[in-house]
């Protein structure tokens, strides 16, 4: 340690070392090494005015360390919460996509016959999606008949019934027929009770009956011109 030329050597050296300690502590604080900083400042309390500065600095540092660790904790917690939320959102999106795909499985059960089995709750968004997919499939496959099978639906209210009526009307606008199959006794009673008008929509007992009806009619349709010629 270089000695200063002027002034009483002992005091200067003493003050100089304390000053250097302070500077060193500040340097530690600047690079976020608070432990080393506080260790350096420990045991420097002597009752003069420089000690007051040191004491003040130590207090300030202690508070800073506390605040900083609190902040760090909060940050870590926030990040954790954020990660959790993001994971949850991702799961929800994935599940929604899966549900959307599951909600409209359209099967071509026979040449020109599409079958749409409906399971679960039908709200307006889902019914719009189902109708859209069904109509697009009808055009793509040039299907003459669409069978909407609602065996998997337990209860139906006016709104749901309305969705199915709209779906049938849209299908008919394209020039295809729409058959509703698999209405269970409960739904049949509810529909009668609430007075839903299903005229114009063909309802058949089950998918088998619907398919048989299609085959019977189209067999007849193909025969009719020949019959007339005879």
């Amino acid at each position: 340690m270089p000695k200063k030329e002027n002034g009483p050597a002992g005091i200067v050296e003493f003050t100089q070392s304390r000053l250097e300690d302070l500077v060193q502590a500040l340097a530690y604080a600047a690079i976020d090494d608070f432990e080393a900083c506080l260790a350096l400042m420990k045991g420097t309390l002597v009752g003069d005015s420089f000690a007051t500065l040191e004491g003040g600095f130590t207090d300030f540092l202690t508070q800073l360390v506390g605040a900083k660790s609190d902040l760090n904790d909060a940050l870590v917690q926030a990040e954790e919460a954020n990660r959790n939320l993001e994971a949850k959102l991702e799961t929800i999106e994935r599940q929604q996509a899966a549900i959307r795909e599951l909600s409209t499985p359209i099967i071509e059960v026979w040449t020109g016959v599409l079958c749409l089995p409906v399971v679960g709750i039908v709200d307006s968004q889902r019914s719009a999606e189902m109708t859209e997919t069904l109509l697009e499939m009808i055009v793509a496959k040039q299907a003459r008949t669409a069978i909407v099978d609602i065996t998997g639906i337990d209860a139906m209210d006016t709104k749901t019934a309305d969705h199915f009526i709209k779906m049938a009307k849209a299908v008919r606008l394209l020039g295809a027929d729409c058959i509703l199959s698999g209405i269970n006794p409960g739904i049949a009673q509810t529909l009668t009770h609430i007075g839903v008008d299903l005229t114009g929509i063909r309802t058949l007992r089950n998918l088998r009956d619907a398919l048989q009806a299609y085959l019977r009619e189209h067999h007849a349709e193909h025969l009719r011109p020949a019959d007339r010629r005879v």
Partner: protein, 141 residues
Amino acid sequence: MKRSTAVSMGSGGSDGSVGRSRAADQNLAIIQIRNCLLVSIQTELHDRLALDLQESLMERVRIADAIGVILDVSAVEVIDSYITRILNDIGKSVRFMGAECYIVGIRPAVAMTLIEMGVELDSVHTALNLDLALERLELLQ
């Protein structure tokens, strides 16, 4: 009624007149196939065009003694309530003259919009494509 006799498109030696809309250069060809009339609408169907079509179509049904009228709307992206009314009117008038009217190739999006709007195309028949419409009209003979 402004009409012009233009390119002959019908088979079977009919006069092949084409309804001309007053809107610039847009006209819809009415093609005769056997005893059916076919109109393929390859442009956006606006009000004037639809009204002119209605007029010239009625005349052609009488001249050609057609049993069926087929309107192909597969290229039409917008059908509003007014056009729907005109189409229904065409269907009714055609039926009064003893023929049937088929609308073919309605797009899924158009169908959904019509249903959402709550308008009904109940005075015309619909078919998926021209082939099926012709098949069904042939059954009527």
